[in-house]
């Protein structure tokens, strides 16, 4: 009896071992499917943006598969993505990347949500030489490490608000401006800050307040009181959605008059919905807006993407979804140009990417960042109680004129 059990165990383990080795050796391309892997935040503090990212990926997979898939070697393949939930935890994300590569045999990766998690995964994909196209890690430090297998479709963080300073100088008749800034102490926001420092140096502008907000901070009253006392020409705030919501709430409550207010994460914070008219005139950095005139044959235009996305998921796509969809277009293009599933050939093809998508032009710089797409700025404008984001810069796509200076609170109804 005992022998029988032993024999049985050996038999089972032999079978499972064979199965495992088969599945991993064919995992990169299974039948007609090209398998991509992604660790993504479906729970935890990044879960809402994680879901936006996943929806963007899924939407593109569905669209590409429906429109003929990926042509490699005269055969048509379809995309498939294996997802794992990284719980918004960098350590977990790195483990899951290992698991995707070693156990599931994934040979091509899509990025997670946020700079922090991308930073955790990049060393792993680099170690196993797995090409990763990411759409949600903008931190500059991702592109200065010399990673060879990392490609980002989005503009790096330091470019987020640089344009805003140029705009302020322009409005000031070309003369330098006085800048007040408050940034959260995390990798992303500090990169945005570096961009502002560069812009200030370039334009000869002076930074009069330079506050670093702690992660736990939910009260900016002190910073805003300083702003009120020193009267700068422009106030720059970056602290993810919490920072954006806190800033608008307290600027309105404390009646802080500042001619120009530039921020990040207005879109993700649903600023115009949550704060209504209080958020009017805020200038926001964005990777994408549906009104831009970029086109591709899969999604058509930004406006069409917006419509299709709304139909599929029931809400307007934030830029996090748009850039995630673009990542798959980049992969498809690279596979077809490489005409091979060899990782290094795909990587070389990615490196020479030069294309237009509905999300923007994509061309990778030496560090893997997208150098072909400028950031855009939109301004919250309200008609009655309905507030909308209107593109105001760069001028090529501006649908509305930039409103400057912001009227004083005493004049606002």
């Amino acid at each position: 009896m005992n022998k029988l059990v032993k024999l049985f165990t050996i038999f089972i383990s032999a079978i499972s071992l064979t199965l495992a080795s088969i599945s991993s050796s064919f995992a990169k391309v299974e039948g007609e499917y090209i398998v991509l892997g992604s660790a993504i935040s479906l729970t935890g503090k990044y879960s809402s943006n994680g879901v936006h990212t996943q929806n963007g990926y899924n939407m593109a997979v569905e669209r590409i598969n429906k429109m003929g898939g990926v042509n490699v070697g005269g055969k048509s393949y379809k995309f498939e993505i294996i997802y794992y939930d990284d719980e918004s935890n960098p350590k977990r994300a790195a483990q899951l990347a290992e698991r995707l590569i070693k156990q599931d045999g994934v040979h091509y990766m899509l990025g997670p949500y946020s700079s922090g998690l991308t930073k955790a995964i990049a060393p792993v994909t680099e170690k196993y030489k797995i090409p990763m196209v990411e759409a949600n890690g903008a931190s500059r430090s991702l592109f200065t490490k010399g990673y060879k297998y990392l490609f980002a479709v989005l503009s790096p963080a330091n470019q987020y608000l640089e344009v805003a300073i140029d705009l302020a100088v322009e409005k000031n008749g070309g003369k330098p401006v006085r800048i007040a800034q408050a940034f959260e102490q995390d990798a992303f926001s500090q990169d945005v800050r570096l961009g502002i420092l560069d812009a200030a140096k370039r334009t000869g502008s002076e930074i009069i307040i330079d506050d670093k907000l702690p992660k736990e901070l939910n009260d900016m009253a002190a910073t805003l009181a300083k702003v009120k006392a020193t009267k700068p020409d422009v106030l720059v705030v970056s602290g993810h959605t919490k920072g954006a919501l806190t800033a608008i709430r307290q600027i309105a409550e404390m009646k802080v008059d500042v001619p120009m207010l530039a921020m990040t994460h207005c879109d993700a914070a649903k600023l115009s919905k949550q704060h209504g008219k209080k958020s009017e005139y805020a200038l926001c950095a964005s990777q994408w807006h549906k009104n831009l005139s970029y086109k591709d044959k899969f999604f058509g235009s930004g406006k069409k993407y917006d419509k299709d996305f709304k139909k599929e998921f029931g809400y307007a796509p934030p830029y996090q979804s748009a850039e995630s969809s673009a990542a798959l277009l980049v992969f498809k293009d690279a596979f077809e140009r490489a005409n091979s599933f060899d990782r290094d050939k795909v990587r070389d093809a990615l490196k020479t990417t030069e294309m237009q998508t509905f999300y923007g032009n994509i061309k990778f710089g030496p560090g893997g960042q997208n150098t072909a797409k400028p950031m855009i700025l939109f301004q919250v404008r309200c008609k009655g109680d309905v507030c909308e984001n209107k593109v105001v810069a760069p001028t090529k796509w501006a649908s509305d004129k930039f409103y400057h200076p912001i009227p004083k609170w005493s004049e606002r109804s």
Binding site: T43, G44, K45, Y46, S47, S48, N49, S88, A182, Q185, D211, K212, L213, P214, E216, L217, N218, D219, A221, A222, T223, A225, K226, K228, A229, T230, H240, T241, K242, L245, T246, R249, Q250, E253, M254, K255, V256, A269, K270, Q274, H275, G276
Partner: protein, 297 residues
């Protein structure tokens, strides 16, 4: 020295008022913590998460079209039962045990609450709008959001009500008796089990009020509970247990200290300064105690 705050006296007024108004709110949370710490000898790590849950109750009302300020009445009622249930499920098993066990248990509760709130309300940062406007003083150079004044006023109101209740009511007397000596109270016929459950419920209700106030003054997010736990812990450490005036003063003092640290040391050292203060106070208290050679249980 070139400090902005000393150049502009109005900034000093602004900072003081901001600090005091916020401090009063923190004091309310801290008083809940002091109460159940004193009565049950439990340090509740989930304190901040109870606050946030209370905030989400007010936020849910706001979404349903009810003014979020009503949350200061609805939220404590719901939270009382949440606290009561929490006691019956978990806390009653750790109440007589080592302090370490209770910290571990409430830490676990904190994680469960965070994940549940994330699951139910989503990971977005949310705010409820009170539309209370702003009070302007000194020719508009000092601005006070009315929502902050409202929250300080409500906090004071509830604190007074609680003190009266503790002094006058039967349950209040029972709670104080249990805090002094649980065994003696039991012998004299106090149902300590019931007292514990009620105390934990009252603490949760206080958190509920504070949460509702935070939903209209600050922001809500499932994972921002811990800073409130830490602040109330600090206030209690400074003020001692079961001493409401001391808790109120230490709460306001902390609020003031934070604001001034922001101006003088810089925003990045605001939280750091508070922790430095905690270390300093702990060392000082130890030093003072060793001088007095008091016997401490």
């Amino acid at each position: 020295m070139d400090f902005l705050i000393f150049k502009a006296p109005m900034l000093m007024v602004q900072a003081s008022l901001d600090g005091i108004l916020l401090g009063i709110l923190f004091a309310l949370i801290a008083y809940g913590m002091a109460l159940q710490w004193g009565v049950m000898n439990i340090i509740n790590i989930a304190q901040g998460d109870l606050v946030i849950l209370g905030g989400y109750i007010a936020y849910t009302m706001y979404l349903a079209g009810i003014h979020p300020a009503w949350g200061v009445i609805v939220s404590p009622i719901i939270m009382y039962f949440v606290g009561w249930a929490l006691y019956k499920l978990v806390i009653n098993k750790v109440v007589d045990r080592d302090l370490f066990i209770s910290i571990l248990a409430t830490f676990g509760i904190a994680i469960v609450f965070q994940q549940l709130m994330n699951f139910i309300f989503g990971a977005d940062v949310v705010v409820a709008q009170s539309e209370y406007g702003t009070t302007m003083l000194f020719d508009n150079s000092v601005t006070l959001p009315n929502s902050k004044i409202f929250s300080a006023f409500i906090s004071v109101l509830y604190a007074i009500a609680l003190v009266v209740y503790m002094k006058k009511s039967r349950l209040g007397r029972a709670i104080r008796a249990t805090a002094q000596n649980a065994r003696a109270a039991k012998i004299l016929g106090v149902d300590t089990e019931k007292v514990y459950a009620a105390t934990f419920g009252i603490n949760a209700a206080l958190c509920g009020i504070a949460g509702a106030l935070i939903s209209i003054t600050l922001t809500l997010h499932p994972y921002v509970g811990l800073p409130y736990t830490v602040r109330s812990f600090m206030i209690v450490i400074v003020a001692g247990l079961g001493n409401l005036p001391a808790v109120a003063i230490s709460g306001m003092g902390l609020g003031l200290f934070e604001e001034f640290a922001d101006y003088i040391l810089g925003t990045e050292f605001r939280i750091g300064a508070v922790f430095m203060l905690l270390v300093f106070i702990l060392v000082y208290r130890r030093f003072k105690l060793s001088k007095k050679r008091e016997y401490l249980k």
